[in-house]
């Protein structure tokens, strides 16, 4: 029996942190992509860009819950530049409980097919405080080229960075 959930690459952030996490030269030999994150940053969200596309080619909708209520917003709520990336929240930040890393998963079906690419994004940012967040998001990139690279950067900040020990692993899933 084939085992088709295959690790493509895994990145662990070293001492001093990192401004971005980048997967490049993603092979087109799979059907779907799945990205698993364990991250801590200095901002509550990540910017996800495919193939270095920084144009206004992204849209997303988000469902949030924080222990007190549930909310929904979208890229249109925030305006530009939040249509130039998929916004992947929520992230544990340096303001949250020490040594706590958020986790998240992004699933992209049919990443090599010449249609727009839809994505499913889920994340949690647990925190030993009154408020902690979980988020479910839909995402769409209007690009029709095969996805060959994924760049993750923390959202705005003076020096956006991932904390040491943050990890990101990209898997490929084959349908045959």
């Amino acid at each position: 029996m084939p085992n088709t959930f295959v690790k493509i690459a895994s990145i662990t952030v070293g001492a001093g942190g990192a401004a971005s996490i980048d997967f490049t030269n993603i092979p087109s030999t799979y059907t779907d992509l799945c990205l698993k994150l364990s991250t801590r940053t200095n901002n509550t969200g990540l910017r996800v860009r495919f193939n270095s596309d920084s144009g206004a080619n992204y849209s997303w909708r988000r469902l949030l819950a924080n222990g007190a209520g549930s909310f929904s917003d979208s890229n249109t709520t925030f305006g530009s530049p939040y249509n130039t990336f998929l916004y992947f929240s929520m992230q544990d930040t340096t303001s949250d409980t020490a040594n706590t890393f958020s986790n998240g998963e992004m699933y992209v079906p049919n990443y090599t097919v010449s249609t727009q690419k839809s994505a499913s994004l889920d994340s949690v940012a647990e925190n030993n405080a009154t408020t902690a967040y979980m988020a479910m998001q839909s995402g769409l990139w209007t690009g029709t080229a095969a996805i060959t690279s994924i760049a993750l950067t923390p959202d705005t900040g003076t020096s956006p960075s991932f904390a040491q020990y943050s990890t990101a692993t990209l898997y490929g899933i084959k349908n045959s």
Binding site: M1, P2, N3, T4, F5, T31, D32, S59, W60, R61, R62, L63, L64, A65, S70, F71, S72, D73, S74, T76, T77, Y107, P109, N110, V113, S114, T115, Q116, K117, S118, A119, S120, D122, M136, Q137, S138, G139, L140, T142, T144, I173, K174, N175, S176
Partner: protein, 168 residues
């Protein structure tokens, strides 16, 4: 290491179709994962996707939590002849837009308990949602049909893949 995400069957629609059926599903796995990347022809920004199985009758219930970009909401259906997995892109979206659904059928082959399904549906033009469904029936699931919930078609090029996951 047990096999994960073993492909059982995949369908890419060569022409529009109102439903897709996976039949003669092996009982060799612990759970099933169904990945849908599709667009429906119902004239809306999104359209629902229903499912039925070899367990028939008004034995399906579904509860969902949805965010449409401005508000969160929850509702449910019960005692229906089909359950719901989520929403995909509808006929008013761009012709090459797609929505996706990731559905997990837990412990599908046991013959002792009712079956549960948890799923995520994503349409960036309309909403994001999580669904949980109950199928009241103790038969092993041997077939699954998914259909365009607006009563119309999935467009050509829509893909449906069923994977098996083994617990051991």
């Amino acid at each position: 290491m047990p096999s994960t995400y073993t492909p059982i069957a995949t369908t890419t629609l060569g022409s529009a179709a109102s439903s897709v059926t996976f039949s003669s599903i092996s009982g060799a796995y612990t759970d099933l994962i169904l990945i849908i990347s599709a667009r429906g022809t119902t004239s809306a920004s999104s359209t629902s996707v229903y499912f039925t199985t070899n367990i028939t009758g008004s034995n399906y219930s579904s509860t969902w939590l949805v965010g449409n970009g401005s508000a969160a909401a929850s509702s449910r259906y019960s005692n229906l002849g089909q359950g719901y997995l989520g929403y995909i892109a509808g006929g008013t979206t761009a012709s090459d837009s797609r929505g996706n659904i990731i559905a997990h059928f837990m412990n599908y082959s046991n013959t002792t308990t009712n079956k549960t399904v948890i799923s995520r549906g994503n349409v960036a033009e309309a909403e994001t949602a999580a669904y949980v469904s109950l199928i009241r029936g103790t038969s092993a699931l041997t077939s699954i049909t998914v259909g365009e919930g607006g009563g119309n078609n999935f467009v050509a090029g829509s893909t449906f893949t069923l994977y098996g996951i083994k617990g051991a």
